[in-house]
């Protein structure tokens, strides 16, 4: 079969759909963890974002947040980042454990890391079904710092040479509004092409 020419716009559409399905799965996982409390998810934003603006994506580079970072490493590689504010993290930990473990202590951290693990895994499962690729997430790492420092560090880790970075951003919030956060996927440049190609080929079969 001849290779279909793929426009940039079409690529973004494919990725938006991928983001939708992945994030839908991830949100369901989160809802299940929270005893089936309803979790609303915004339609994922897929954007070619100017590199200089990325640290501000979460409403201010100086905002102090909890960041959980998972590197996914296989045929394709990308970075999944959760950003969540303190109150949301505290509520999340309390709803899951039934106790007020401080988020910055061992138990609180461990709960947040596990949530990130489960949510990322369900995102990847959906993506894996769609693409027939295997995704291997590394153990999550947690940090509390300025949103700008966290995102800047992730950018440096990806060693980006481009001035525009593709970002899939999904915001989620529980029905009662007590837990909200953001889930970001930052793929490597090659990754993007591989995933789009797999999705398009899959769709043509």
């Amino acid at each position: 079969m001849p290779e279909l020419p793929i426009s940039e716009e079409f690529k973004l559409d494919v990725l938006k759909e991928m983001g939708n399905i992945g994030a839908g799965n991830a949100t369901t996982a989160l809802s299940t963890l929270l005893n089936y409390e309803r979790v609303n998810m915004h339609v994922p934003e897929v954007d070619l974002c100017p590199l200089v603006d990325i640290p501000d994506l979460m409403g201010g580079a100086e905002k102090s947040v909890i960041g959980i970072y998972i590197r996914v490493f296989s045929e394709v590689s990308f970075y999944a980042v959760f950003l969540i504010d303190f109150e949301s993290a505290q509520t999340l930990v309390a709803s899951l454990t039934g106790q007020d473990h401080p988020v910055m202590e061992e138990m609180g951290r461990s709960v947040l890391l596990e949530v990130a693990n489960i949510v990322t895994a369900s995102y990847l499962n959906a993506l894996s079904h769609l693409t027939n690729l295997t995704f291997l997430p590394e153990p999550p790492l947690l940090v509390v710092d300025m949103a700008g420092a966290i995102l800047g560090t992730v950018l440096a880790e990806t060693s980006v040479a481009e001035d525009y970075i593709l970002v899939l951003k999904t915001a989620f919030i529980t029905a009662t509004g007590n837990i909200e956060g953001n889930f970001l996927i930052i793929p490597d440049q090659n990754t993007l092409d591989i995933i789009v190609r797999m999705l398009v080929d899959g769709a043509c079969q």
Partner: protein, 159 residues
Amino acid sequence: MSEQIRVKIADYAVKKEEGMLITVGLGSCVGVALYDSFAKVAGLAHILLSDSALFKTPSNPAKFADTAIPLLLEQMISIGAKPTRLKAKIAGGSQLFSFERSMTSVGEKNICAVRNVLAILRIPITGEEVGGSVGRTMKLFVQHGKVIISTVGSEEREI
């Protein structure tokens, strides 16, 4: 209130006489503040990566230590700074996420690259707060060249 210029990631700015240059959220990135106290010319860069030569198509020179610092220097000279009068203060290059890898962290590489470039340009480093595992905000006051560092949950301090 005097003017404040915000330096974003992979960006730089220069200013003369008064005001403030600020860069927020230096993680593994390194902030380089250069100052000519005689001409009151200040420059601040927020550097993301160490070496432009590692990339096939390095687009924005302000992103890399080896290209950003000479660019900053050039801009400062154009508004009256003299290279021999410049002093540098650096901050950042931390390792926010504790990877269980033995490789040198991006932050360390950045610090090392910045030191090398400044040494080549013969600009002495008179103050620094680098490494560790916290994000930093760096303010450079144009009037007197003071550099103030702040981190989440601690007091501001001068370097």
